[in-house]
């Protein structure tokens, strides 16, 4: 499955980061202060956790535009139940279960009813968000329980629990994706569902694995999202899924499925977050950040497309189309 130049895209990303780093060292040396690096790490935590889930979905050849809605639902569930006085030991499993259930709804629509992933998750995004807003009536949950606050507060030299969780989850995802049969089946299935079925891989299992894992990882991300913000609302994380998809794609994952790496996703998140942080440090207005982010995403797309040109001959393209 892997070609010899598998990490070629990651090398390009790394050199892009190096260029950015050198530019920053000259323009804003403050970027490399320990305080700022800790801030950068904190801002990466949630995005990295959700991106790992999205990588699973994109590897399976799908896409999920309901991730932002799931993040909002779970964070409101966590905060509401917590504010009702339920202990963390009850609330956290319930939140994880909610995320898994919403992911399973997506997977069922795609695997059982054969609705294309983008249509199915477009529908569920509206459904989840609508029901959540009806439940909260658009009101803010402006206080969060003390235990959740403790999760989000910085310790260990400015780092918080989200950084540790992101690191552990990356390790776990690496083990599952590369060292287990079901993880490897995700690559095969995404590359060609038909070929995967011929080799005995279930046509449903990888879909459930991808979307339920995204739901659960989004739920874990929601814990830190709510903890870091200190207040949540039904409209939280609107459009977050597009940032997540942009990070994964920037990391070199093939939107058609079957190709992508955790290292690339990490570098994609790192690039997006450090760009944002750098522009803040340079006192650039917010909308210029959008322009820079958009340009960087397009650059990433062009970079990964040039890699694909080397890999696939026209005849092969016609066979796979």
């Amino acid at each position: 499955v892997k070609s010899s130049g598998f990490y070629r895209h990651e090398m390009k990303l790394a050199s892009l980061l190096l260029v950015l780093g050198i530019a920053l060292a000259i323009a804003a040396p403050r970027f490399f202060s320990s305080v700022n690096l800790a801030l950068l790490a904190r801002s990466m935590g949630v995005l990295l956790i959700v991106s790992v889930g999205m990588l699973n979905v994109i590897l399976s050849g799908g896409i999920d535009v309901s991730a932002g809605a799931i993040l909002a639902v779970v964070s409101v569930v966590l905060v509401r139940l917590g504010n009702h006085g339920l202990p963390a030991s009850t609330v956290l499993p319930l939140g994880l279960l909610t995320g898994a259930a919403l992911g399973a709804v997506n997977a069922a629509l795609i695997a059982e009813l054969r609705i294309p992933p983008i249509v199915a998750t477009l529908g569920t995004a509206g459904l989840f968000r609508g029901l959540l807003l009806e439940w909260t009536q658009g009101e803010w949950e402006s206080s969060i329980p003390a235990w959740l606050n403790a999760v989000g507060s910085p310790r260990w030299g400015g780092l918080d629990a989200s950084v540790l969780a992101a690191a552990l989850l990356m390790l776990a995802a690496a083990c599952v994706l590369h060292r287990t049969q079901i993880g490897r089946s995700l690559f095969r299935f995404g590359d060609s569902p038909v070929a995967a079925a011929r080799t005995g891989i279930s046509p449903r299992q990888p879909i459930y694995l991808a979307y339920v894992s995204l739901g659960m990882l989004t739920a874990i991300g929601a814990v830190f999202y709510a903890a870091q913000l200190g207040a949540v609302q039904g409209n939280a994380a609107n459009g977050y899924e597009l940032t997540v998809i942009a990070a994964v794609v920037l990391g070199g994952a093939d939107i058609l499925g079957g190709r992508g790496s955790l290292l690339g996703t990490f570098l994609g998140v790192l690039l997006l977050c450090s760009l944002e942080q750098a522009l803040v440090l340079l006192h650039v207005a917010t909308f210029w950040q959008n322009i820079a982010t958009g340009a960087i995403v397009l650059l990433g797309v062009i970079l990964s497309a040039t890699a694909r040109l080397h890999r696939t001959l026209p005849l092969q393209q016609s066979l796979s189309a």
Partner: protein
Amino acid sequence: MNSSSSATLDKFGHSTPKFNKRMMGLRQSGNLQPSVVVLLVLFFCIYAGYRSGDFWSALNWQLLAQPLAEAGLVSLGMMFVIASGGIDLSAGAIIGVAAVTAGIAAHHNLPVPAIEAAALAAGLLCGAFNGILIGVFRLSSILVTLGSMILVSGIALAISDGNSFAGFPDGLLWWNDAALLGIPLEFLLFLATAAVAAVLLRYTLWGHYVIAVGSNRVAARYSGYPVALTLFGVYALQGLLCGMTGILLVARLASARADVGQGLMLMAIAAVVLGGAPITGGSASVIATLAGVAAFYVVQDGLLLLDVSPFVQHALTSVLLLVAVAVGNLLRGNRR
């Protein structure tokens, strides 16, 4: 564009109009989903009319027609994009940039035609940018438009400084007020555009190319079809239609902001899919797209009159999309 394309085909000596028509007929015969949607919506209309006396009033339909026309224009563009096997996530952002451009032009006291031309040009430019990256450089449409969505919305915010514009000349606001026989002009413009789109799709070489490229891009390329030019046209047209939508939105709201098109992009994709077009491309029908857009707005309006909360409306229209696609799949006997 058409003259250059027809030359390509003449070389191979196809009798194109006949072939075109036969192929389109075949592609559409199996699509029952628009009928399902229309039937569902008719039942809903009868129920809503029974429960609320205002539902069948002329005023209700007049108020409904304007937002429907705006969403309809984007949906027509999106129909071509999806038929060509792509998707356009940047439509909402392009509408925003067109609206803001109109705002800046009005701010400089330009005459009304110049304001409209500036907005259309802004839309066309953004669409052409997408078209070059997707058609000529063969990049993936979802990725390119994801990037250009972020980029273009940033540009819209930057050139407007995040402000909203007001004080448009009456000549522009006329688009909102004018009506013919009680039908809002916006809606008539939309119907006229839909007729043009139908002609483009069914009776021009370009329409044939769009379907062919969407069915199998590699086969289209090996058949000597101008794939790059076709795709460029698709995205440029979508940009132009987004520019039109931007002008109509500005006229109706009497203000322009960078985020004015938010939500219309997903709405347009959902409307096209609700009409039964496969998201993988290779098939399109203007009537089905009209049915899809109308279904969304009629149901939303009916729910509003039935005093359903806006949040539940949002959820229920999403369920309508899922149910329609699932039922359409079952009717088509969609096996792997």
